[in-house]
C-alpha cells in the first residue's frame, strides 16, 4: 500500500479525546486539506503525522512502513508552522540551509540549493537578509522553501496562511497549489478556512469533534455533504426540518414537490442559497417574507422567513428592485438540489 495511511488513530490528552479513532488514506502526490472548526483535532492529527505528538493508539504508515516509533527528526518531512518558526538568529539563506547543514551538506552545495529554492518560491536574491527585514508574505515563502529544502516525502502545513491579509492569502493559496502540482509532493494542510480548502485541495477531510465527517473532493463535499455539519461548514446551507407528504416533503413554511424523504420522523434537508429560486409573483409552493437584503456586489443575499424557517437565497443583482424588505415572495426549492439527511444526520 502506498501513500500515507492512518489506521484507528486516537489521541487523548488526560480525559479529553482530541482525535477519536480516525482512519484515512492519503494517496501519493495528492493535496489534502484537514478542515474543521478550532478544537476539532485537525492540528493534533497533523502533529502526530509529523511525530511531534504520539498517538494514544493506532498506526501511522508511510509507504506501508510503520512510522509511530520514528522520532520527528528521522521522518523526512517538511513542516510549515502557524508561527512559521523561522530562526530569528539566522538570516534567510542560513534558515533555508539549516536542514541541509544538519545533514552535513557542504557550504557550496547548500548555497546552490538555497538559490534554487528561493527561485522556486519566487524570492530570488534575499539570502543575506535578516528575517525581520521581510514582509509577512516573504517570510511565508522562506518557511516553505526551508520545509522543502531536503525534498521531503511529506509536506505538512499548519494554518500556514492565517497571518496574511485576505488578498495575499488568495494569491498564496494558488501559488502553493501550483507549487505542489509541479513537485508532485504529498501535501497535508490544516485550515479552518473552507475557501482555502476548496481552492487548494484534491481531497478535503472535514473534521468535527475529533472525528472525520467526510473525505471527498471539494466539489463532491460541497454538492453532496455527508452530514448537516459538512453542509453548514462548507459554504452556506439552509438546513430545513421536513416531513414526508403526498408527492413531496412539507415543512413549516411550505412544500417541496417531488422530494423523497423517509416516512415517519422528521428529516433534515440542506439546500444551498444559490439553488433557491425566488420569484416576486405567482403562487409558488413556499410563501416567504423578505426580512433583510444584503448587497454583495456580484450578487445579493436575501434573508427570508418561511413559517418558522429562515431561508437564505442568492439572486442576481438586477433583480434587486423586486425584493424589498417586507415584501411577500414565493420560493422554489428544486428537489434535485436538496440533500436529505436522516433523523441522525446521516443519509
Amino acid at each position: 500500500m502506498s501513500g500515507l495511511e492512518l489506521v484507528d488513530i486516537t489521541k487523548r490528552f488526560g480525559t479529553v479525546t482530541a482525535v477519536d479513532d480516525i482512519t484515512l488514506t492519503v494517496a501519493d502526490g495528492t493535496f489534502v486539506c484537514l478542515l474543521g472548526p478550532s478544537g476539532c483535532g485537525k492540528t493534533t492529527l497533523l502533529r502526530m503525522i509529523a511525530g511531534l505528538e504520539d498517538p494514544t493508539s493506532g498506526d501511522i504508515r508511510l509507504q506501508g512502513e510503520r512510522l509511530n516509533d520514528t522520532p520527528a527528526h528521522r521522518r523526512n518531512l517538511g513542516m510549515v508552522f502557524q508561527s512559521l518558526a523561522l530562526f530569528p538568529h539566522l538570516n534567510v539563506g542560513e534558515n533555508i540551509a539549516y536542514p541541509l547543514r544538519i545533514r552535513g551538506g557542504s557550504p557550496a552545495s547548500c548555497e546552490a540549493r538555497v538559490r534554487e529554492l528561493l527561485d522556486m518560491v519566487q524570492l530570488p536574491g534575499v539570502e543575506q537578509r535578516a528575517i525581520t527585514q521581510l514582509s509577512g508574505g516573504q517570510r511565508q515563502r522562506v518557511a516553505i522553501a526551508r520545509a522543502l529544502a531536503v525534498s521531503p516525502q511529506l509536506f505538512l502545513l499548519d494554518e500556514p496562511l492565517s497571518a496574511l491579509d485576505a488578498k495575499l492569502r488568495e494569491t498564496m493559496q494558488m501559488e502553493l497549489r501550483q507549487l505542489q502540482q509541479r513537485l508532485g509532493i504529498t501535501t497535508i494542510v490544516v485550515t479552518h478556512d473552507q475557501r482555502e480548502a476548496m481552492t487548494m485541495s484534491d481531497q478535503i477531510v472535514v473534521m468535527s469533534k475529533g472525528r472525520v465527517e467526510q473525505m471527498a473532493t471539494p466539489i463532491e463535499a460541497y454538492r453532496k455533504p455527508a452530514s448537516p455539519f459538512v453542509a453548514d461548514f462548507l459554504g452556506q446551507a439552509n438546513l430545513i426540518r421536513v416531513k414526508r407528504a403526498d408527492n413531496g416533503a412539507s415543512f413549516d413554511g411550505g412544500f417541496i414537490p417531488g422530494l423523497e424523504v423517509p416516512a415517519g420522523a422528521e428529516s433534515l434537508v440542506s439546500v444551498r442559497p444559490e439553488d433557491v429560486i425566488v420569484t416576486s409573483s405567482g403562487n409558488g409552493p413556499v410563501q416567504a417574507d423578505v426580512v433583510f437584503v444584503r448587497e454583495m456586489g456580484a450578487n445579493i443575499e436575501i434573508y427570508l422567513d418561511a413559517g418558522q424557517e429562515r431561508i437564505v437565497a442568492l439572486a442576481a443583482p438586477k433583480s434587486h428592485g423586486d425584493f424589498q424588505v417586507g415584501a411577500r415572495v414565493s420560493l422554489t426549492l428544486p428537489p434535485d438540489a436538496c440533500v436529505v439527511f436522516g433523523a441522525e444526520g446521516a443519509h
Binding site: 509529523a50 511525530g51 511531534l52 522520532p71 520527528a72 527528526h73 528521522r74 521522518r75 523526512n76 518531512l77 517538511g78 513542516m79 508552522f81 502557524q82 508561527s83 518558526a85 530562526f87 530569528p88 538568529h89 539566522l90 538570516n91 539549516y98 536542514p99 544538519i102 545533514r103 535578516a130 528575517i131 525581520t132 526551508r146 520545509a147 529544502a149 531536503v150 505538512l156
Partner: protein, 286 residues
C-alpha cells in the same frame, strides 16, 4: 497609547518620584564615596578632605591584583554555573502546566527571603564534618567517614550559586515563557535531535537574555562579602570582603571608598561592554 515625547515640565511628574529616590539613595551616596576615595586618612582618626590618588595607587600591587582577579573569576564562575543549571531548569519549568510553575516560582522566591547570614550559616552547617551532608552519605554507604567541606572554595561557590540561582531563574523565566515552542519543533522536523535543536536553535535565539542574566548574576556575585568569609578561607576572600575589612575593621574609609569606586567602575564597564555587543548584534535578534 500616547507615544509623543514629554513637552511640558509637568509631563515629567510621573518619573519625579523614582528620580528623587535614585538621586537621594544612589547618586548622592556614590558621589560622597567618590569624594572620600580621594581624601586622606588620619592616623587614629577618620579622614580629612584632600585630593590624592594615593588610595588608588595602593592597590596597584600584586596582592590586590590577585584579589581582583580572584573576585572577577569567582563572579564569572558563579554566573556560569547558575546559567548551566538555570537554563535547562527554566526551560523545563516553562514547559510545565501553569499551576506547577507557580509552585516552583514561589519556592524560588522563598529562597530570596532568606538573609545572606542565614544562608551562610546554613551551608556551613550542611557542609561541616560533624553535622553535615557527608554524615548522610556515610549512613547511605557512599562514603567511608564524614568529611569537612567547609571552609573551602567549593563551599563559597556552592553558597553563592545557591543565593544567585533564584535571580537567574527569575531573569530567564519571562524570556523562556515567551519563546515560541514551534522553534524547537521546527528544528526537529528539519532533522535535528531534541538536544541538538536546543543547543543550536533555542540557545542562540536566547543569547541576549543569556548575556543579560550572566551580567546580573556576575555583578550580584561580585558584591558578595559575607559568604566568602563564612564559607571560605582568607585566600577565598573577594574584593568586597577587603572593602568591608578596610572600612569597618581598619577604619580606612578613603581606601575602602577607592576600592568600592573601582568595583563599581569595573561593573559598569562590563555592563557597557556587553550592551555594546548586544546592540551591534541586536538587529537580527528576537
Amino acid at each position: 497609547m500616547r507615544r509623543s515625547p514629554p513637552q511640558k515640565p509637568v509631563d515629567y511628574l510621573p518619573i519625579a518620584f523614582p528620580a528623587i529616590m535614585l538621586g537621594v539613595f544612589f547618586v548622592i551616596p556614590f558621589a560622597i564615596m567618590v569624594a572620600i576615595s580621594v581624601f586622606e586618612r588620619v592616623q587614629g582618626g577618620f579622614y580629612e578632605p584632600a585630593f590624592t590618588f594615593a588610595n588608588y595607587a595602593r592597590f596597584l600591587t600584586p596582592f590586590f591584583g590577585k584579589v581582583l582577579a580572584f573576585s572577577l573569576g569567582l563572579a564569572a564562575l558563579v554566573s556560569a554555573v547558575c546559567l548551566l543549571i538555570g537554563v535547562p531548569f527554566t526551560y523545563m519549568l516553562t514547559r510545565l502546566r501553569r499551576g506547577k510553575q507557580v509552585v516552583w516560582l514561589i519556592a524560588l522566591l522563598g529562597v530570596l527571603s532568606l538573609s545572606e547570614v542565614i544562608i551562610g550559616f546554613a551551608w556551613s552547617t550542611l557542609l561541616s564534618r560533624t553535622a553535615g551532608l557527608s554524615n548522610l552519605f556515610v549512613w547511605v554507604g557512599l562514603m567511608e567517614r564524614p568529611e569537612a567541606w567547609t571552609p573551602g572554595f567549593a563551599a563559597v561557590l556552592t553558597g553563592l550559586v545557591y543565593q544567585a540561582f533564584p535571580y537567574t531563574v527569575l531573569v530567564l523565566y519571562p524570556a523562556f515563557s515567551r519563546l515560541d515552542p514551534s522553534l524547537m519543533e521546527a528544528a526537529r522536523t528539519l532533522g535535528c535531535s531534541p538536544a541538538r535543536a536546543f543547543a543550536n536553535v533555542v540557545l542562540p535565539a536566547m543569547r541576549k537574555t543569556l548575556l543579560a542574566t550572566f551580567i546580573i548574576v556576575f555583578i550580584f556575585a561580585l558584591g558578595a562579602y559575607l559568604l566568602p568569609q563564612i564559607l571560605g578561607r582568607p585566600q577565598h576572600w573577594t574584593l568586597s570582603v577587603l572593602v568591608t575589612d578596610q572600612a569597618i575593621y581598619q577604619s580606612n574609609m578613603p581606601f575602602a571608598a577607592a576600592m568600592a569606586v573601582f568595583l563599581v567602575v569595573a561593573s559598569l564597564a562590563l555592563v557597557g561592554l556587553s550592551m555594546a555587543i548586544t546592540g551591534r548584534k541586536g538587529a537580527a535578534g528576537v
